[in-house]
Each structure stands twice: as structure tokens, then as C-alpha cells.
Symmetry: C2
Subunit: 189 residues, 2 copies
DNA sequence: CGATAAGGTGAATCATGATTCATGATTATA
DNA sequence: TATAATCATGAATCATGATTCACCTTATCG
């Protein structure tokens, strides 16, 4: 998705560095990282931030979107493994674990978004939708092989990702994931 | 728990109004409600806030503590019902639903705490501990009557309360609770 | 190699919000 | 009721952080 037309080489480089720095700092220091800090971390001046992203909200939105991209890719990879013969339920399970860390990060960024204005008004572009679509197919497949409770929906999965304990230690997070997935599995209604 | 000595009547009244206003506003408008707003909602001037709570953090801490008190009370009530003959597993289940809304609120306030400095350094006084102790006894009882997976711990429950989807609609929250509790029940390991 | 438009810089501006403090009420006693 | 503590008030102070803009740099292309 190139801009109007070719972006100058250095500009493209800076844009990437900014996005990365924004992600890192927001994840690590929470919603209130100053734009100045992000600029410093990216090795540019504030003005440059604003050339690429007109407001802080826009920057945060871009970071979120990049997470959705990552998650959607992860989901597609899982789907590919299913196509290659892996049991859908197992693929979903490992996908959940894989996405978890990404989701944890995403939540941190979402918090940033919330602490500003419209939290959900932020893009929610096609990337999220792409991920949701894939997820729906995987869920259907997992139900078909009998590993998932029949009433589980994509929304449930999304809720799962939404409630990932962001600040918990990895071990705690894994335990949480285990409990949650057990609630998802067939056996109960 | 009286202060140094008797608090002037009007002062006590204000103190209560402030705590209530702080709770309401933080829950509704998020971590960044200005002290001015809280003061206005409580019907006092900012200076009065500061007479009762030396910093914003202190105020938020007090609000959190009051939530812990509420939750601990709720847990004790559940324990009483068990003593009165209710099945422990059922009591735990309904307790979870009961605490959920309170926890949702509490999370909002915790977010406020986090957005400032030390999030866990805030009190965590005896009220939290009281609740934890009761919870532990209820869990033991529920395991005894065979309704709970054997490896469930108090920490798991705490994690559950910690991850309540704060901003979700009540129906969504209920669904989430159902899924989670199914993960807690006996049947899986 | 220039010319030039695209890109970068960072001090200055502007807004918001926590916290303080000199001054004016109220409540609780003697 | 008179007086001393206690409280309450809110404008002023101070700090922080987003955003802008007039002025330099440099990539790109003939």
C-alpha cells in the first residue's frame, strides 16, 4: 500500500523506525509515552513524527493496525497447517497460544487508544476483518472434528484475546490460556 | 477506623462524598478524570480533596481498597451460605457472578492506578487478604464436593477477576464468566 | 553536477491538570 | 455565646505534553 506515489528512501526508513519505536515504548511504558520520547527512540525529531502521522491518535492507530496484520497472518498460517493435515482443534489451540503475546501487546496499545478519545473508532480496518474470517473457518473446522463445544463463536475467541492478562508473567498467562481453552473444549455443552 | 481522633461532622460527610464521587467518575470516565471534576462532583473545592487525600494516588488507592472491602464481604456472605447448607460449587459459581461487576469496576480503577505510578504498590491492605483467605476456604470446599478441577488455585480465581472484560456489555460479561467457569469445573484434569 | 521538491528540525505555543497556600468559614467546647 | 481548632475555598503556580511552523537538508532526476 504505497502512499500517493514513491516515498523517498529515507522517509520510508524513518516511517518504519517510528512505528517500531511507538510500539515498543507504548507496550513497555503504557499509554502516556510522550511523542518526544517516541521521536527520540526512533532517532528523529518530533516534527518528523507529525509529518508521517498527523496526530498521536493516528500513530497509535497505525500501531494497532500492524498488530491486527500480525494476528491475521498467524491465523492464516494455522489454517495452512490444517490444510496440511493437522487436527483443527490442535491448530486452534496452538494458535491461541501464539496469538496470546501479540494480543497482550495489542491490549497495551489499545489502552493507549482508550486513554485518548475514540478507542474503537480507530481504524478497525480490513486487517481485523481478515483475521476474523480466518478464525471463523478454523472454529468451524475444530467443531467438525469434535474438539470444540458446539456453541462457541468467533466473538468468544475475540473476547478471549481481549481479556489476555496483559501484565502477567508468561507462566501465568499460559496457565490462564489453559483454563480458558478448557472452557472452550467439547465436553461441557 | 477513626482518624487520629473524632473527625468533625462536616468533614466526615465530605470525605464520604469525595470517595463516592471519585469511584463513580473514574469508573465512568476512565483514569484521567481531573481532580477538579471529582471535587465538583462531590460538591467541594479541590483544596478539600487534598485535605483528605494528599495526592491523587492516595485517593485512587482509597477507592480500590473500598472495592476490596466489598468483595471480601461478598465472599464471606457466600461462605455463610455454604455453612447454611448450599453446595460449595454452586456458591462459588454465584459468587463469581456477583463479584464480576464489582471486579469490572475495580479494574477500571486499577487502570487509573496503573496510569499513575506504582499500580500494585497501592495499599493491597488487609482487605484484599481477607477476601483471599475466604476464597481459599470456599475453593477447598468446592473441590471436596467434586465440582472443581483438583488443580485450581486461589491465584486462578484472582486471575479470573483480574481479566474481567471491563467495558463489555453485561450479557457478554456473563457469557465470558460461563466459559471461564466451565474451564474451572471438574471433568478436565 | 545542480535544481528543487520532499523531508527533517526543534524551539515556541497552547492547553490541561496536579498541587499549594493565604484567607475566610464552621464546628466543637468551655 | 466566645474562642480555638478544624475545615473549606479557589485563584495561582508549576509541570508536562501535544502540536505547529519558519527555516534548514538531502534524495532524486534531468
Amino acid at each position: 500500500m504505497p502512499r500517493a506515489r514513491t516515498l523517498r528512501a529515507d522517509a520510508a526508513r524513518n516511517r518504519a523506525k517510528i512505528l517500531e519505536a511507538a510500539n515498543d515504548l507504548i507496550v513497555e511504558h503504557g499509554p502516556d509515552v510522550p511523542m518526544e520520547s517516541i521521536a527520540a527512540a526512533a532517532g528523529v525529531a518530533v516534527g518528523t513524527l507529525y509529518r508521517h502521522y498527523p496526530t498521536k491518535r493516528a500513530l497509535v492507530g497505525a500501531v494497532i493496525e500492524s498488530h491486527f496484520t500480525h494476528m491475521a497472518d498467524e491465523a492464516e498460517a494455522a489454517e495452512a497447517r490444517i490444510a496440511a493435515g493437522e487436527r483443527a482443534t490442535d491448530a486452534l489451540r496452538s494458535l491461541a497460544y501464539r496469538i496470546m503475546d501479540g494480543a497482550a501487546h495489542n491490549q497495551a496499545v489499545k489502552a493507549a487508544a482508550r486513554s485518548m478519545g475514540a478507542d474503537d473508532a480507530l481504524h478497525h480496518g480490513s486487517e481485523l476483518q481478515r483475521g476474523i474470517d480466518v478464525l471463523a473457518r478454523i472454529i468451524a473446522a475444530a467443531k467438525a472434528d469434535g474438539g470444540l463445544r458446539a456453541d462457541l463463536t468467533v466473538e468468544d475467541l475475540l473476547l478471549f484475546f481481549k481479556t489476555v492478562p496483559v501484565d502477567a508473567a508468561p507462566a501465568v498467562r499460559a496457565r490462564w490460556c489453559e483454563l480458558m481453552l478448557d472452557g472452550f473444549s467439547a465436553g461441557r455443552p
